[in-house]
Amino acid sequence: MVNVKRNRGSGRTERDEQFHDFVADRRGHLFATARLLTAGDAFLAEDLVQTALTKLYVSWAAFRRADNPDGYVRRVLVNALMDERSRVWRRFERPVADLPERSGSGVTADDGDPELSRALRELPPKMRAAVVFRFFYDLDVAETAAALGCSDGTVKSQTARALDKLRAALEQPDSPVRPSPPVLQRIQQQGMSS
């Protein structure tokens, strides 16, 4: 049962207060994760964060009861990614002029690393999410599988393929930078041994 106890003075419920604190503390991190999951698309990342936060608010009691709240949030974010991708308007390239204004959200059109963005965009969303969670956030195979809603084996194969594809894309002759071999080796070894 969702707690609807009201906080006297502000008119907010206890859920409102808890959600407010959560957003204040975690929104920036969520946006950074969403930006990686969307291959650097800051606008889609903002959509993703808004969708995920709305779902969290609606299911706040379940989120608070979750044994692993961080895992719960990751799953919501990945589900939002898959749902967003499925919407028709996401299938079309949107000219910058069509993008909505998001004043105050801190969203900019700068994608930080166009070459890496392009390489990530070539990966299917789940594969991209696998490499982001495994590699960047250093989650283990089980945690990544929980976030993606798939098996451990799929996480291992998706991560390995993602790294192969990223390496191939970033090792093109015109690429000024490349992934560091020891890091790739570490992830591949983890993938094999986990």
């Binding site: 204040a24 930006r35 609606v58 959200s105």
Partner: protein
């Protein structure tokens, strides 16, 4: 040389604190979603009772009257709360689909490789005071307040959470996205025909629209072929 982890960090960008306005906007979206969810639940609950009444009426009509036993059920189904009624679609059929039923007063706003957009008549002729480029209602690729129909690969969508239903001869899943619903109809081993509803229809009405959707085989084959092309990249 910059390593991949550093590049990921740069792509993710700095961790910025959310402004008070952004937090309030998130909270307001949460409030709206809760209200719409409650309204949708009320519609679904009411519609179940109405559907039972309509079913009983249809049975009586079919077994009485002219005695032929072949009288058709009423051609119109009505949402108990929204007032939206389903009617037979009488316009030009789209390129890749045939549709039998639409909400009354809705038309096909967009029909292309990306799928269909079925919008309310108010999207047809914006008044002089409206700038269509600034209103999503007039953007045929925006599905807010509309129905979208498109094909997608199961390998991309699965697993899909939701209640299992049957639409015509196909199995389907009712998948909620906040206040919006998606009906994912399994039209082949590899392909879903997804109907996205961002309009206040009952569950029975959504299933009825799904049952009246017929996807042309060449469209299914083309979408399935793209799955085969992608094999080896998607587990």
């Amino acid at each position: 040389m910059m390593d991949l982890q550093t590049r990921f960090q740069r792509l993710g960008g700095p961790i910025e604190a959310a402004s008070a306005e952004v937090i309030e906007a998130d909270l307001a979206r949460g409030h709206r979603a809760v209200r719409r969810r409650r309204a949708a639940q009320a519609i679904a609950g009411s519609a179940f009772g109405i559907a039972a009444i309509v079913a009983a009426f249809s049975f009586i009509a079919a077994t009485s009257g002219d005695g032929s036993g072949t009288r058709r059920a009423p051609a119109v189904a009505e949402s108990a709360t929204s007032g939206l009624r389903l009617v037979d679609y009488g316009g030009t059929q789209p390129k890749y689909f045939t549709i039998d039923r639409v909400p009354e007063g809705f038309f096909i706003q967009n029909d292309d490789e990306g799928g269909l957009t079925i919008a309310p008549d108010s999207a047809r002729n914006p008044g002089p005071e409206i700038d269509p480029s600034k209103s999503p209602l007039y953007n045929p690729r925006d599905l807010g307040g509309k129905i979208g129909i498109y094909l997608e690969l199961k390998s991309v969508r699965d697993p899909v959470d939701g209640a299992k239903v049957t639409t015509g001869t196909h199995q389907a899943v009712m998948h909620p996205i906040g206040p919006t619903w998606q009906l994912l109809i399994s039209v082949s081993p590899d392909v879903y025909a997804t109907v996205q509803f961002d309009v206040p229809l009952s569950r029975e009405q959504m299933v009825e629209i799904g049952a009246g959707l017929h996807v042309h085989q060449d469209a299914i084959d083309r979408m399935a072929a793209s799955a085969n092309e992608g094999k080896g990249t998607n587990d």
